[in-house]
Structures are given as C-alpha cells and as structure tokens.
Symmetry: C2
Subunit: 374 residues, 2 copies
C-alpha cells in the first residue's frame, strides 16, 4: 500500500535503539475532518527527540507499544516543513499545495477556554506530534517520515522569504522560546533578557530576543560559544565558570530564559537575584523526569521573583515569529543532513554529544521517499 494508506518513516520499538531508527512503513491515524496531510520536505532535529526515543520523560514503556491501531513502532520529528497534499472536509486554514510548518503539537480540543484564548498549547487534550495517544488509541507519529498527519490548527503558513531547511527549527524550538520571551517582556521599556544555554533553543532565543527589542546577555559555562553568541546578536556574554560571574548583575533582567535541558547544574540561588522585581526565570528545557528544581524560598524573597516553565506556543505566536524572522532577517544556524537511516543516526548521535552548532535539519525527503512529484 502507498500514501494515503501507508506512510514511511524512521522508527524504533525499543529505547535502547534510540540512535538507530530503521525505515518502516506504517498506517497513519484515521483521517479526521480537520486533519491535514503534509508531504514532508525537511525536518529539524530537536533535543526532545533524544528524550522521547530514550523514553526519559516517563517511567512507562514507549506509548506506541500499547497503541490500539497503527504501528507499534515510533517515528519522531516535530520541526516539519512540507506541502499540504490532502485536507479534511472541514479544513479552512490551509489548502492543498500550501507550504506549511508543523511543530510539536498535532491536535487540541479547540473548544476549551485555553484553546479559545490563544493558549491551545496548554489544552488538557493537547496531542503531541509524536508518542502521544489520540482518544481513538492511535499513538502519534512524527516527521522523520514521508508524510505526517495533523490537525489544521497546527499547520502554520510559512512566509515565502524563508527556505524550508531554515524555517524548520522555528516550528518547535523557535516557537518554544518566542512565546515566553514575548509574554515576559511585552509592554516593558528597554527589557533585558538573559539566555542560558547557547544550543539549539538558546541560539534562536538570542536572535528572537534581539528582534523583539531586548538587550540580550548570553549565558554559558565557558567561553567556547562566546564569539558565536555575539554574532547571533547578544550584547553581553557571561561565562558561569568565572568565580564572580554574577557580580554586578543584581536587579538586571526582565527575564532569564533557561534553554539548557538539565536543571540540576543550575545554581538557582545565584541566578534569581539577577532578576528585576516580580520577574520570571523560565525554563524551556525539560530534563529527565526524575530531576527536580531545588531552590530556597529565600532566593525568591529579595526581588519577589518566580521560577516556572513554558510550553511551545500558539498558532498566532508561530505566525508572528515567522513574520518577525522575515522583518528582522534572522535565521536559525542550520547544518543540513540528508535523510536516510545513516543520516538520522548521525544527527541523533551528534546532537546527543552536543556536536552541533546549532541545529540540524534533515533534508532530501523528496529524493529519499520518491515524493515531491505532485
């Protein structure tokens, strides 16, 4: 069987094989009236993929193993760019032939208060683009694939100015940092933002903060990423390996955005005093499920600050982000890898080692899957 009955993708069925997904054919979820089929052109590699494939965000077995229909294997990938090749009967937000992006969310109820107030990413019935069971028992399958199927709300129109391989990382990583940056600095005069962790998310966060008008401090352990951070637009660079790195930083930032995926290495008791009154430390990197934040209540007391998290962004924010990238002419720093079993393996393995500056996009999907001919 071929599309639309079967998709092809790179899948695992055991977390120990996280670095070597194999080409497989699989049944897509049942096609709903607001569903869209995207013929994938390229797909970013996000650190989330490592956690998902290694199954580090849960103590349960891989969700796909208990799917009610569809594959018992798992395809990941949620920075998809591709062409709409089919739309359900009720789809109004895109049409066949459109170039669209799909991030880490593939569905939501679209009826609750959150969905109706620009917070559909926080819908209690939100379905992630992969590893997440739909109400009908299908477990979602991601974008390291020939095609991906998702609710139209999460298929974002892409401005023609940005090439697919560069806009792919904005769909998840870019959006994930854009939402909290915008929400935390909007309405503030001359906001100052600190970005911790100059990796996939962090490098986009620097560029986005600058485009939103902030003065940006890039925060890293050592100096190896200093020059890059300044090229990305950071106004200041802070190396926390210096003994007195936080001297003079009291009462400085309107937002500290933690883009590092581990929380246990952060000295929150030293970071929090750097915030202005009532401002937030927001963590967008999600660590292993057993990691905790540990922080003294007194560390919040002297500036009335908060720590918290943020999840993805809304459709409206995704569109706004891409318009911002066009207007301010910033692009993620991307290394492309041709998609194939070896290419997927190379991307995952190098990302796991931190050997990427600063984002991989898998490309060449049309050649590999024989698509792109419609």
């Amino acid at each position: 069987m071929t599309y639309p009955e079967q998709f092809q993708g790179f899948a695992i069925s055991d977390p120990k094989d996280w670095a070597t997904p194999k080409l497989t054919s699989f049944q897509p979820k049942n096609f709903g009236p607001r569903d869209v089929d995207i013929e994938v052109e390229c797909c970013g590699i996000c650190a989330s993929e490592l956690f998902a494939l290694k199954n580090d965000w849960t103590h349960d077995p891989l969700a796909c193993l208990s799917s009610k229909y569809g594959p018992k294997t798992q395809v990941v990938g949620h920075e998809v760019v591709g062409k709409v090749v089919a739309v359900g009967s009720d789809v109004s937000l895109c049409k066949v032939g459109d170039r669209v992006g799909l991030g880490a969310q593939a569905s939501a109820c679209m009826q609750c208060g959150r969905c109706q107030s620009g917070n559909e990413q926080y819908c209690a019935q939100s379905i992630g683009t992969y590893c997440d069971p739909y109400p009908d028992g299908y477990v979602s399958q991601g974008g390291y694939a020939s095609h991906v199927r998702a609710h139209e709300q999460f298929c974002f129109p892409i401005p023609p100015e940005i090439p697919s391989e560069l806009v792919a990382p904005l769909q998840c990583g870019g959006l994930t940092v854009f939402s909290p940056i915008k929400r935390n600095i909007q309405g503030k005069k001359n906001p100052r933002v600190a970005i911790i962790g100059i990796g996939g998310l962090g490098h986009m966060a620097i560029m986005i903060s600058k485009a939103l008008g902030a003065e940006v401090s890039a925060v890293s352990r050592g100096y190896s990423k200093r020059d890059d951070a300044l090229k990305m637009g950071a106004d200041h660079f802070i190396a926390t390996s210096e003994p007195n790195w936080n001297a003079g930083l009291d009462d400085t930032f309107d937002l500290i955005l933690n883009c590092a995926s581990s929380t246990s290495s952060l000295d929150l008791n030293a970071l929090l005093p750097c915030l202005k009154v009532n401002c937030n430390f927001v963590s967008v990197g999600l660590p292993h499920i057993d990691e905790d934040f540990k922080v003294k209540p007194f560390s919040f007391f002297h500036n009335g600050c908060n720590i918290g998290s943020s999840k993805l962004g809304s459709r409206e924010e995704a569109i706004e982000l891409m318009e911002l990238a066009v207007k301010h002419n910033f692009r993620p720093w991307v290394e492309t890898i041709k998609v194939c079993e070896a290419g997927v393996s190379e991307g995952l393995t190098r990302l796991d080692k931190g050997d990427v500056r600063y984002r991989f996009t898998l490309t060449g999907f049309h050649d590999f899957f024989g698509t792109g001919k419609q």
Copy 2:
C-alpha cells in the same frame, strides 16, 4: 535617662529564651533627618517574630550581639501603631501628633530604581524593623517597646475609621498578602484566588481578596477552620486531607497564595495544575532557612505556571490597603493581650502552638510604659 535618649522594650539576648523576653531599657539608633519617633500604642504579634527570636532565618548568631552601638539585646515587633512624637528636620510625610503605622520595614535608600518605582520593599539597602544592621552598625529594634524609630517612608497614615488594635495587623501581615494579591489579579476579569493556610496572614488574605473582587477558595488541611473561613468571606473551602481534594480544580486559579510558613508540607506537584495558564503560586510564609522548595519542572509545563515569593508591600500599597479596609469594612480578627512580660510571653507561646484565631495585638502600652500623656 528617659525618652528620647532611652526606649524601653521586651528583649532577649539568647534564642533559647525566645518565649520570655524581659523588660529592658535601650539606646535608640542615632536620629536621622528623615527619622520619626513613634510612641507605641499597640503592636501585633507576627509569626516572623518566632523565627527571628529563635534565629531560624539565619545560621549566624543574633545580629544584635555584634551591633556597633545600642543594645546587645533584641526587641521584636513590627505591626506597630502609635503616635508621632518627634520628626527629623527633613520629614514631610507625617507630623507630630499623627497616628501612624509601621510594618516590617524601617528604612531604604529611597534613591535606587526600586525605591523610585513603588518597590522600596525590595531595595537592596532595605532595613527591617528589627534584627537588621543599619550602615552605622546599629541593629534595629522593634515595636514591643515604648517607642520605635523609623524612616518616615515607612510610617503610614492611618484612616480614623479603624481602631488601633485592629489596624495593627495590617501593617505587616495584611500588607504582605495585599501586595501579591493585587499585583497578580489586577486587570483580570472575575479572578479566582486560592489562599493556603488560614492563620494570621491567610485570614487577612481571604478578606483582602474578596474586597479586591476575587472569588476566593480557602485551603486548609482539615475542616476545623471551615466555618471561620466562610465567615471571613471565602466562597469555597478545600480540605487537603480529603483524598481527591484537587478533583475538578485544574485550570482554576489566577493566583495561589501560600500563607503557611512551612513549604515542605505542600504538595506543589498537585497544587500547580490548579493554576490557569502563566499564573503564579506565591509563597509569603518564609520557612526555616534550611527548607527548600522541591518541585518537578514538568509540574510547571502543562500550564506554564510559576512559583515564587513576595516581600511586604510598598507605602503606596499600605495606604491603599487601609483605604480598602475602610471602604469594604473588613477588619482582622484580633485577640488583644495586655503588654507586659507575661503578656508578651503568652502571645509568643500561644502563637507558636497555633493557638490564635487569628491575630494577637499587644495593647495597653501607654499604661505599661507610662506614655500617652503628650
């Protein structure tokens, strides 16, 4: 010597004597041009006093033991109401004869960005009303005393409608909850607030939240304070001893205000999902210095919420709070105790056991100290 050279108050010099402060005479701090002397009429008893007297908020010895001048003993008390009996040469905010309130802050630089933007409580040079060293080496002495000396900024005018013993608890406890409630719900439609811990702070928080237009849920372990909480104005009562206390509470609150002084008994991972998107859990109870918040990053993720703290309130907020109490006719629930060594001891001991509903005010200062005759 007598006032203004010497004040009298109830002091300890060793934390083991926390429950039995003794009457003592002591030298006040040097009188500055913006200082005000208040002849104390009454003083609330705040749980902070227990932490300060037991020295539970630091690993250092009592600050007064290393004071450069003034007493080596410590008088606490920071919900003071009294009459202005002397003002420095540059004082413009009050005059001799005024009835004023003094809370937990006695000084600030009044020149930094925080001081000049209604956030003087977060000034890096803030001096607490007791136990806190001034730049000249004097360690501040509180209001269980005949007189107290403080910077005019922190001597708040009191509306004539509220009796002194009832307005006293608003100076620290009331202000401490008013500031985060107001800052977190302002501009929101039909805000919903949860108040955890129905004690000294919590009972004022219920009344203040109602007066600010919120729908209020009082949260306690058991049911013993249910009837009182409803009388204070709570719309709902939640007993966390019930196994499924949080059923149906997802996505409910614009603010959860923790007024309990211990954080370790709170199940943050169960409480945080009750917040609406991007809303805050704010803790105003400060625990023992060795207690930590421990919480999973994932607990913030599903609603993008935050946890944090808040410190006191500004002069502007203190005045607004008292106007609100007049307008909405709410008053703290106060049990008065006549001031004397036995009275101070009784108040502290009963508060330590939780045997107070809901706030003590020490009264009769004029009779005891022979003041009130000017």
